[in-house]
Amino acid sequence: MSATANKSSKLGTTSPPLSGERLVELYRTMVLSRYLDERVWLLNRQGKAAIAASAQGHEAAQVACIEATDPSKDHYLTYYRQFTAMMALGTEPEEMLRGFLAKDGDPMSAARQFPLHGAHPRVDLFNFSNVIATQLPQAAGVALADKLRGDDAVTIVFFGDGAASQGDTHEAMNFAGIRKLPIVFFCENNRYAISVPLNKQMAVDTVASRAAGYGFPGVQVDGTDVVAVYEATQAAVNRARAGDGPTLIEVSVERLQPHTTDDDHTRYRSPEDIAQMANKDPVKITSETLRRRDLLTEAEDEAIHAEAKRRVNVATDTVDAEPYPDTETMFDHVTSNRDEGGS
């Protein structure tokens, strides 16, 4: 955690620290996510995936965040860059690919929506829309319902540094502070909103600093550090479950790829800026950390990579051969109680 993150220690972490075993498991998910993510870009270049946004660079933050939550009861409101978080929540490579290739059986939206958008069939993860920041007031509403019923659930809502500029973000945080909602605002700050750099997005250095204006703590954490993100999230989740209200966690990450497969970041990032990212690759950093802490041998690491590659290959072959959804199904689920055949 960075200097400004010291607030999180005040929150009091009561749950156990991450075991070495779990750390390796998280690393396994990161590697799988990375291979699958790369594969999706390849499929885009082959004309098979219409569009993809990538989590490359965000993997450590996402697995660590999810690890500190309880998928059996918590709620997740994600945005399009939650590739790794979705895998950490148990989405299989095949399921992910059905979304990207718009194939029959896409679990999130039956391929009506962009990849990763819709609702998850097994955990309470939803990502209704591509419209930036709409999920924040919605997340406050989800948390409000839990609070009114006295349910022991926490809502985690994910967003980017660009999303912090939207009015919806302000309105949601303000209300969450007033009602002390059980919610964690999880901001993945990669310093860019497509091409717009942070200094054109805000006059301050951290999104976390805004939390003070809403009456709850904000912390900034190194998003390549699995343990730091895990601990910060755990503290925030504990705080929320204890009825003490929201926390804003800002993780500093790099967006290793262009914004989406439609983007070319050399148009707006300097060569130096692009080059320095190599040192911020969370997969590499986590591998080194695990090796240094003797939690992983070189052979084990290689096996993890080989297994990830194999799973991605199998999933690709399977899904590539599948059909698109039946056209007639597009008329389903507009409203509950009537067909919409005309006006």
């Binding site: 999130m108 609702a119 919806d168 409203t335």
Partner: protein, 327 residues
């Protein structure tokens, strides 16, 4: 049956639904101790407490986003937008989001939420307390829009809205709140969404209308009946989905249609009714498809004479009937 005003019917219905179903929660500005600026929620915070009667901050996008989030998490939020003119900041959460929750998740999530929106003019509201805002909602697949004009319909349609498993926009015409009285049964009932109603049967012409204009149309029909003209008045009641069958049936039978609305004409409810008539009644029509609406001005002037000039009135409807009848 007791007589009630529209606002009394709205209040009693909300209270009954909140007693009936614990998951109904109220969200809005000044809905608490103030009881709402129209007193629609008078006494609610005392009965249901601060957990179920939530005075929100001044932020309409928040109100609708909260409603949506609470709805997908098991509640049946009932939100109030204080005046229709202030619904614009919330359009993204309603039209962009709520309307598509069911479709965009292939039915996994649903948003059983009701948004009450007091709208319309003739109340000296000027440019920002008079607007008709039905067009975009009525256009949007995934939304349901009701616009009851009588206390009876207000109760039945509001109950249907609250019990619906989809987002429903309830348009209540502010001017009808205290102006319009009618009998309302004490017992529980609902009115099916999507059904227009013939509020006055007739044989020589159909007036298709809704909201405050229903009452003006009924007055006008009464006036011309004294001159021997037998005009039918069809109240749309639901603006999405429109009851195309009822419109087509009535207009095909009478052969003439006058569409009356308070809203400005271009790309409006009246346009869609005209399109339905033009498509389905073509061979039965014996006069042009006629509309009487507000003029194409930002609705509507504050000054009283100009406000009156802006609004359709019973007199203007009588004149439009006479003109169409002579053709």
């Amino acid at each position: 049956m007791p007589e009630q005003t529209v606002i009394e019917a709205v209040r009693d219905t909300m209270r009954a639904e909140m007693r009936r179903d614990e998951s109904v929660i109220l969200l809005g500005e000044d809905v608490g101790l103030r009881g709402g600026v129209f007193l629609a929620t008078d006494g609610f915070i005392e009965e249901f407490g601060e957990d179920r009667v939530i005075d929100t901050p001044l932020a309409e996008s928040l109100i609708c986003g909260l409603a949506l989030g609470a709805a997908v998490n098991g509640m049946r939020p009932l939100a109030e937008i204080q005046f229709a003119d202030f619904v614009w900041p919330a359009i993204n959460q309603l039209v962009g989001e709520a309307a598509r929750v069911r479709y965009g998740t292939n039915g996994v999530k649903t948003a059983p939420m009701t948004i009450r929106v007091p709208y319309g003019g003739g109340v000296r509201g000027g440019l920002y307390h008079s607007q008709s805002i039905e067009v975009l909602f009525a256009h949007t697949p995934g939304l349901t829009v009701v616009a009851p004009a009588t206390p009876y319909d207000a109760k039945g349609l509001l109950a249907s809205a609250i019990r619906s498993d989809d987002p429903v926009i309830v348009l209540e015409h502010k001017r009808t709140y205290r102006l319009v009285k009618g009998e309302v049964p004490i017992e529980d009932y609902t009115i099916p969404i999507g059904r227009a109603e013939i509020k006055r049967p007739g044989s020589e012409m159909t007036i298709v209308t809704y909201g405050l204009m229903l009452h003006y149309a009924l007055q006008a029909a009464e006036t011309v009946s004294e001159q021997g003209l037998d005009v039918e008045v069809l109240d749309l009641r639901t603006l999405r989905p429109l009851d195309a069958d009822a419109i087509a049936e009535s207009v095909s039978r009478t052969g003439k249609v006058l569409i009356v609305q308070e809203d400005t004409p271009a790309v409006s409810i009246s346009s869609e009714v005209a399109a339905i008539v033009g498509e389905r009644c073509f061979f039965d029509l014996d006069g042009p498809i006629t509309r009487l609406t507000a003029p194409e001005l930002p609705p509507m002037p504050f000054s009283p004479l100009q406000e009156a000039a802006f609004m359709p009135s019973p007199e203007k409807i009588v004149a439009a009937i006479a003109k169409l009848a002579e053709l």
